[in-house]
């Protein structure tokens, strides 16, 4: 089972986890990324490259499925204007055993950060700035190669 989505709308992690749990494996792992309200952040703008995003996410899913014996994989990434506390991203995996589910989940979020065409812009009262890519995000992805 594979479900990949890019959407403005919120999603329900419980529903996504339920779908993974129904696959008959012994292990389900997930990661949910949220907008932090650090430094008086008012909103987080998520832009993407629509024609490319789906295939970039599919390529990341292909890599995870080639590496771990997964029964299911879910990746949902929101775009648009999000506010502190709102969900940005969800990745979830189902497998027979925990190691594959946990490792594949970690791999998916590391790769989504560095290999899918999304860009974040932070909006504060009277100011805004594009988020800079972080060296340690690239290092986190490189760890899997």
């Amino acid at each position: 089972m594979r479900r990949i989505a890019v959407q403005e709308a919120d999603f329900d992690p419980g529903t996504l986890l339920g779908a993974l749990e129904a696959l008959g494996g012994g292990a389900v792992a997930s990661f949910t990324g949220l907008v932090r309200g650090d430094g008086g952040l008012k909103a987080m703008q998520l832009d993407h490259y629509p024609a490319m995003t789906d295939q970039a996410m599919a390529a990341i899913a292909d890599a995870a499925e080639a590496r771990w014996p997964l029964l299911g994989l879910v990746a949902v990434h929101r775009v648009g204007m999000l506010h502190p506390g709102e969900r940005i991203v969800f990745v979830g995996t189902a497998s027979a055993h925990r190691a594959a589910a946990l490792e594949a989940c970690h791999f998916l979020i590391d790769w989504l950060k560095t290999d899918a065409p999304f860009w974040k812009k932070e909006h504060f009262e009277g100011a805004s700035r594009w988020v800079e890519a972080r060296e340690n995000d690239a290092a986190a992805t490189a760890r899997w190669t």
């Binding site: 990324g33 832009d47 490259y49 991203v89 290999d115 065409p117 860009w119 800079e132």
Partner: protein, 85 residues
């Protein structure tokens, strides 16, 4: 010939548009050369491409490098390092 060029994030904001059709001269053979050619237009282009090493690239919706050939490209995207997740 020619192809679409798409801009994202601060590259888009500096240039002031999200896409355009360009038809560079034949000697512009790689993405890196295209960036230099666009930058020579000055203004927002020069600002966006002041440090070409900061620019990431996709050719026909696949990540590519600055030495990628553009001869058969239909769509080239120029953008900052991605920051999703």
């Amino acid at each position: 010939m020619g192809f679409r060029v798409l801009y994202f994030a601060w590259v888009r904001e500096a240039i002031g548009q999200d896409e355009e059709f360009v038809d560079p001269p034949r000697e512009i053979a790689t993405v890196g050369a295209l960036i230099g050619w666009l930058s020579a237009r000055g203004g927002g282009y020069a600002e966006a491409f002041r440090d070409p090493a900061r620019i990431r690239v996709a050719v026909d919706q696949q990540f590519a490098t600055h030495d990628a050939a553009i001869a058969s490209a239909r769509e080239i995207a120029l953008f900052p390092p991605v920051t999703g997740g």
